[in-house]
């Protein structure tokens, strides 16, 4: 019988056991630690946090004030079967209420397993597979056209000679993107060919050739309820960017157009869960959606600091509570990321490496 083992929905009555992935709080961080920090800050419920890791040196594993217990899980390339078996084992011990996956690469497996996890009594709060795939880089332009959202025009190509189509259509510079990660700006045909080969070698085919959009980069963290309603939107302007293009510092801004843009996206997709829109606003005020990340961003704690705790709201919604959309947030809240040398002992490293638990 489905959902039999699910706990009572009353948030205050029990400790909620939440499993969180992406504990890699490194220079290009995963969002897990920020998600946990935000959840722990919410006083509406008690939690026990289970960390799910892929590597033995993910810093979150060793943050015992944030993570109560950790388990290693198989890499996404291992497929759904091995992941489900491992999660069943962890669930037997921990009685997990909710899993919040935070890596792009693992989301496909978790979405696929959603119903099986539900049968075990484990809740998720994830988009449908169709929503997830529609916002894929390869389909983004068509998705935008279908839903009246501005996206930079692109060509999906499999051969270097196909570059000429894009070059004829767009003025230089153009952007050469990998299907998963990385983007190179090319100013000449030669540079474009070089970028094609470099990205192909690293991320495979196809390659996305995108029109270059000049402007100000804004990131938007949004939370949808799966019925087209936006529960929270926080727009953030990057103040300091690392060489990998990640925000090292950012500030919440007050611009209704970004909030409307996020609402339009959530409504069009009926997005369930957290997502991040990477937006480029041109000097003429046009906002192009450059990318949609199907999970919370690494800077998600800023939403809690600004008054809209998105991870905590997701927990409540996953537990069946009706959450009213947030309306206000603090403008001018700044985050400044920092690196910290966390000290641990070889015995801890040995434990997680040898037994897969810590």
């Amino acid at each position: 019988m489905k959902n039999q083992s699910m706990k009572d929905n009353t948030l205050n009555s029990n400790e909620i056991v939440i499993a969180v992935t992406a504990l890699n709080a490194i220079d290009s961080p995963g969002p897990g630690v920020a998600v946990i920090r935000a959840i722990r800050e919410c006083k509406d419920f008690k939690v026990r946090i289970i960390g799910l890791s892929y590597e033995s040196l993910e810093p979150g594993l060793y943050m015992h004030d944030l993570v109560d217990k950790s388990y290693q899980i198989p890499y996404p390339s291992g497929g759904t079967h091995s992941l489900l078996e491992r999660l069943k084992h962890i669930h037997e011990i921990e009685k997990i209420d909710i899993i919040i996956p935070n890596f792009d690469a693992e989301l496909f497996n978790f979405i696929k397993l959603r119903d099986k996890l539900k049968d075990l009594g484990i809740r998720t709060y994830l988009p449908e597979l169709e929503q997830f795939e529609d916002r894929d880089k390869i389909k983004l332009y068509d998705f935008g056209k279908k839903n009246g959202l501005l996206m930079p025009k692109d060509y999906i190509i499999n051969e270097v000679k196909e570059l000429s189509k894009a070059i004829d259509d767009f003025d230089f510079p153009i952007v050469i993107k990998g299907k998963f990660y990385e983007a190179i700006i090319a100013n000449t045909e030669e540079e474009a060919k070089k970028a094609f080969h470099k990205i192909q070698a690293k991320w495979g085919l196809p390659i996305i050739v995108q029109k270059f959009i000049k402007g100000t980069e804004i990131n938007i963290a949004a939370l949808g309820d799966g019925e087209g309603n936006t529960i929270s939107v926080i727009p953030m302007r990057k103040l300091y960017i690392t060489d990998k293009g990640k925000a090292w510092s950012g500030i919440t801004i007050d611009d209704e157009s970004f909030i409307e843009l996020a609402k339009k996206f959530v409504k069009a997709t009926k997005w369930r869960g957290g997502c991040e829109l990477e937006v480029m606003q041109t000097s003429k005020g046009k906002s192009y959606i450059m990318e949609v990340n199907p999970r919370f961003p690494a800077w998600i704690y800023l939403t809690a600091a600004a008054g809209q705790n998105q991870p905590a709201a997701l927990v409540k919604m996953a537990m069946g509570e009706k959450v009213q959309p947030f309306t206000d947030y603090e403008v001018g809240k700044i985050f400044v990321r920092y690196a910290w040398d966390l000290i641990t002992d070889i015995s801890e490293f040995q434990k997680i490496s040898g037994t897969g638990e810590l």
Binding site: R237, L239, G250, D254, G332
Partner: protein, 112 residues
């Protein structure tokens, strides 16, 4: 992302005579009225924050004074009068400086 918007005008010890007033009004074009965007936050120390873009600016005391006057919806003419009364400044130089200053403010979308 902290921009500097300084103006180099020296304050005089005693206010100047009022005769500058008519001359200024005569030379200035009416189109030069500019409005500070409503949500712009300013401090007495010369810190300006544009919440729409997340940009921050610092300006010196004279720049702060001009921003304060703009915030009170004073026209450029009125600002020139106020500054000329208080500071030892050549009117033409002030007009030019103000032109540059307001152009910067416009570039940074601080002005409407």
């Amino acid at each position: 992302m902290l921009y500097n918007l300084d103006l180099n005008i020296v304050e005089i010890e005693s206010p100047k005579e009022k005769y500058n007033f008519t001359v200024i009004e005569y030379f200035l074009e009416p189109k030069k009225n500019m409005k500070l965007k409503k949500n712009i936050a300013t401090s007495e120390e010369g810190f300006i924050f544009n919440p729409s873009t997340g940009d921050s600016f610092s300006t010196n005391p004279i720049g702060t004074e001009i921003i304060t006057l703009l915030k009170k919806d004073k026209s450029i003419q009125e600002i020139i009068v106020a500054i000329c009364e208080k500071y030892d400044v050549d009117q033409n130089l002030l007009e030019k400086d103000l032109d540059d200053f307001t152009a910067q403010l416009k570039d940074y979308t601080i002005l409407e």
